[in-house]
């Protein structure tokens, strides 16, 4: 019996020691000491609701990316067909997305279809019909596998781009992960300027250079008649005095002469003449060549710099620009120029993203929540400890010791699994305090019952523990079941609640059944067998 007891004491001391080692790294300031370097790298993570930060759910418009890709394929088909002396005209993306295109010369059908099969294996022919003027109209669509692959690539690319931008923006420990339904979850702890971060993350940053057509009559522009291959985009008018200038319509060629994919670097820079900020761009070799050719061919014309469908500036090309450098001016503030440089450097998002959910907790509220949670926990614990000591005497003291141990073990469990402590999580700890007490109350009430039946102390304690055990197991099982369901379906803070609840329940069973029993056994072994027990 005693040997057995000794082993149980050793086990509990080991558990306690492990718990303390797991918890110590979470103590403030301990990392810098010599002791801190020896300790394991376990610490309790605070959730965004406690340390402040931004939680975003972004929806990636994958359909749009697939559509863009389809348009690109349309151009490719045209180019490849031309090499084989086949004329394909009017490639056009329809909903679905499907691609319609017309082949000139019905006799060329076989050659064209062989070409499709060879070079465009990801497409299938939905339908074809003969048209007037010896043309055949084809409707093509992507194979489902290819669509799936594209969607995956788009999401991967989006995650990569967003991570890139956030890293350049300078956020410590960002958490970016893909979710089902073409969503991306972004968590940025401890950020002081959420609006800017959101603007940087959410910007598509699709940069295009388009030639301006200044020959269109202003009256025609107002009516929207701009001729084929042209489109109207807003030219942003931003003077330093009032930022809200009115945008002017600008007619540009639909096909961009160059896009942002050739950018290797982008930097915010200050302009010497007017102290405003602009963004300097550096192109790669291919981009530099394209830019040189375009500027050479279009001297005295205007080149519009278009970002996400809005023109920032449309300077007149004075001379051929060699060397692969360009500049976006637009009366930026320093922050705006810096943020724009970040998104251009990190690359465009492969598809537009929208913010589906945003939760921002300021650092003051986080700290307030921590303080409030601590106060509530402390007061709850003190009230329960006092009650137990008064109501159960010595046994109550055991219960209290076990209660403290339970809190320590629960926190150690959080540290061990790298779980996140949230505000509902603190509520979970408070609930677990109540539940830990419940296990003890169950046992003690049972012991009291057995004592009333006339059993001796040792026997009553023995029976009390044995009989209460089943009830404790049964009743806690349902709590664990519910907590698992909560974890499965809950969002961040609620998951934190579920985790503390499960840990707390498991620890409370261990402490109430195993550890408090040891205390009782020691207590009883030091007393005569028929002495009364304080319970």
């Amino acid at each position: 019996m005693f040997r057995n007891l000794r082993w149980r004491i050793i086990v509990s001391l080991v558990v306690l020691a492990v718990a303390v080692i797991l918890l110590l790294p979470s103590a403030p300031g301990i990392k810098k000491t010599t002791l801190g370097k020896l300790l394991p790298d376990t610490a309790i993570n605070l959730g965004l609701d406690l340390k402040g930060g931004i939680h975003l759910t972004l929806g990636v418009d994958v359909d749009k990316a697939i559509e863009n890709n389809m348009a690109g394929i349309g151009q490719d088909i045209r180019a490849v067909a031309r090499e084989k002396n086949l004329a394909v005209i009017k490639p056009n993306v329809m909903s679905g997305p499907r691609l319609e295109a017309q082949l000139v010369g019905a006799a060329n059908q076989e050659a064209f279809e062989t070409l499709l099969k060879k070079d465009f294996r990801n497409l299938k022919i939905d339908s074809k019909e003969n048209q007037a003027e010896d043309r055949v109209r084809y409707v093509l669509s992507m194979t489902p596998e290819f669509k799936k692959e594209l969607a995956k690539l788009t999401l991967d690319q989006a995650v990569k781009t967003i991570r890139n931008r956030i890293d350049q923006f300078g956020v410590a420990e960002p958490d970016i992960r893909r979710q089902e339904g073409n969503r991306i979850q972004v968590q940025l702890p401890g950020l002081s300027d959420p609006e800017r971060a959101i603007a940087v993350i959410g910007k598509t940053a699709h940069l295009e250079f388009k030639l301006v057509d200044d020959t269109v009559d202003p009256a025609a522009i107002r009516q929207g008649l701009v001729g084929p291959g042209r489109e109207i985009i807003p030219l942003m008018q931003r003077s330093t005095g009032s930022n809200a200038g009115k945008d002017v319509p600008l007619v540009v060629m639909k096909d961009a002469v160059m896009t942002g994919e050739h950018i290797t670097d982008a930097r915010a820079q200050i302009e010497q003449n007017n102290n405003q900020f602009s963004v300097g761009l550096t192109f790669n070799a291919r981009g530099a060549r394209i830019f040189e050719r375009v500027t050479e061919e279009n001297i005295k014309k205007r080149l519009a710099i278009v970002l996400d469908g809005k023109c920032y500036s449309a300077p007149v090309i004075q001379d051929k620009i060699a060397g692969g450098k360009a500049q976006i001016t637009g009366s930026f503030t320093q922050d705006e120029a810096r943020d724009l440089a970040i998104v251009l450097r990190a690359g465009a998002l492969p598809a537009p993203v929208s913010i589906l959910e945003q939760r921002t907790v300021g650092p003051t509220l986080g700290q307030e929540s921590i303080d409030a949670g601590m106060t509530a926990t402390l007061i709850a614990a003190v009230a329960i400890v006092l009650f137990m000591a008064v109501y159960y005497g010595v046994a109550g003291l055991f219960a209290n010791a076990v209660l403290m141990l339970n809190i320590v073990l629960t926190l150690a469990g959080l540290a061990l699994f790298g779980a996140t402590l949230t505000l509902p999580g603190i509520a979970g700890i408070i609930l677990t305090i109540a539940m830990a007490v419940d296990a003890n109350v169950l046992i003690y009430e049972r012991i009291r019952e057995e004592l009333r039946l006339g059993l001796k102390a040792a026997e009553a304690v023995h029976k009390g523990y044995d009989r209460a055990m089943l009830a404790i197991l049964d009743s806690n099982t349902t709590n664990v079941l519910v907590a698992i369901i909560l974890y499965q379906f809950g969002t961040g803070p609620i998951r934190g609640f579920a985790v503390t609840l499960v840990l707390g329940i498991l620890m409370s069973m261990f402490t109430a059944i195993f550890i408090s029993r040891i205390m009782f056994d020691i207590y009883l072994s030091k007393r005569p067998a028929d002495a009364a027990v304080s319970i």
Binding site: D49, T57, G181, P194, I198, A199, I355, L356, E357, Q358, T360, V361, G362, T364, L365, E368, S369, A372, G373, T377, A380, A383, I384, F387, Y391, Y392, G393, L423, P424, I426, A427, I430, L431, I433, A434, M435, V437, D438, V441, E445, R448, R452, L470, A471, D474, S475, T478, N479, L481, V482, A483, I485, L486, Q488, F489, G490, I494, F497, L501, S534
Partner: protein, 362 residues
């Protein structure tokens, strides 16, 4: 030598009181449901309804009426301004619904502009900004319902298996429930119907398979959720994710109490005392009463501390738990156990009961 809240030999005739208890329960549920119907369904928080919340703290005192007047001029849809804490804190919760193509940044700007214009000189900070889009709101509603559904399923299976040693029946029930729900899904029934369907199927299966304990426990759970949700509606509180979490937790908690009572009933039945079923149940409830009252009291105490000191963010969660603890304790004593008596055919009530295990083998 030691204290007793409940005297050791308490003998309250809970079974005799059961009709009063049923009436009281019916009254509470009816009141809650009436409130819900009158208010056009539960009041959803932004988690479920979508919308924007701006928790705004002013550094200098600003009256709520001034703030309201200022914001009402902006014509933001579904505007609600609510005071947090005390008057001197000047802290407010501003909530609006979400419109098509309007981002939270724009709502934030509209609010900022209005406050800068009308409440000049009062510096403020947004301590918390939450925006839930309609799509996410819909998803979260779905997830909450799914969680409720799985909770019912698992608990029903666990109780019937554990307490009646009829894992076979429990499995039949699980299969029936699963089949029923799959059928409903096949017909594309909305999720609310799925959960209601799951409930009805569970109750019906428990009834026909004579899983009286499981049925009692589930009725008690439904009772707890309905009463708590009803009181929330009467108090004009919002339902959001944390409240659903609180409801699920209280399901676990109330079940905890119920199981302790059932556990004792099982034990007393095993002792072959020659008592009739109502006597056994009274005996068991009275035996465990001290524990029930103590634990619930202490849990109430702990959550009450959270309610008072835990801050605004967790306030409603704590309130739901507080209500739930009281209702859950009541239902374990007055609903879950007495319902077993009501479900047993009258001719069996007068006879001494057999232990549960023996019945299972038969």
């Amino acid at each position: 030598m030691s204290f007793h809240l409940i005297k050791p030999n308490t003998k309250i005739d809970f079974i005799g009181l059961r009709y009063y208890a049923f009436a009281l329960s019916a009254l509470m549920i009816l009141a809650g449901m009436t409130s819900m119907v009158l208010k056009g369904g539960p009041r959803y928080g932004i988690d479920f309804a979508g919308g924007v919340i701006l928790q705004t703290k002013f550094e200098t005192p600003v009256k709520i009426d001034d703030l309201k007047k200022s914001l009402e001029a902006t014509n933001l849809p579904g505007l609600v301004v609510q005071q947090l804490g005390k008057d001197k804190d000047s802290e407010y919760l501003i909530r609006t619904s979400l419109m098509e193509n309007v981002t939270s940044a724009q709502v934030q700007k509209t609010v900022s502009d209005a406050m800068t214009k009308d409440l000049a000189g009062s510096k403020y900070t947004f301590k918390r900004i939450e925006m839930v889009g309609p799509k996410v709101g819909e998803d979260l509603r779905g997830k909450a319902l799914e969680a409720l559904y799985y909770a019912i399923l698992l608990i029903a299976i666990y109780i019937s298996g554990r307490f009646e040693h009829r894992w076979m029946a429990a499995c039949i029930m699980a299969a029936g429930l699963f089949a029923g729900i799959t059928a409903l899904q096949y017909f594309n029934a909305p999720q609310v119907w799925l959960v209601l369907g799951a409930l009805v199927i569970t109750l019906a299966l428990c009834f026909f398979l004579k899983l009286n304990y499981a049925l009692g426990a589930i009725v008690a759970l439904i009772h707890d959720v309905l009463v708590t949700a009803g009181i929330f509606s009467i108090l004009n509180k919002e339902f959001d994710l944390t409240i659903i979490a609180a409801l699920l937790t209280l399901i676990g908690y109330s079940l905890n109490d119920t199981i302790i009572v059932y556990d004792r009933i099982r034990e007393v039945r095993g002792m072959r005392t020659g008592e009739t079923l109502p006597q056994v149940i009274n005996h068991s409830v009275n035996n465990t009463l001290s524990r029930t009252v103590l634990t619930s009291g202490l849990a109430f105490l702990a959550v009450f501390s959270l309610f008072i000191f835990g801050g605004d963010v967790i306030h409603d969660f704590a309130l739901a738990m507080l209500i739930g603890i009281v209702v859950g304790t009541y239902s374990s004593i007055y609903v879950a156990a007495p319902i077993i008596v009501s479900l047993t055919p009258p001719e069996h009530l007068a006879a001494p009961v057999a232990p549960l295990k023996a019945k299972a083998k038969a």
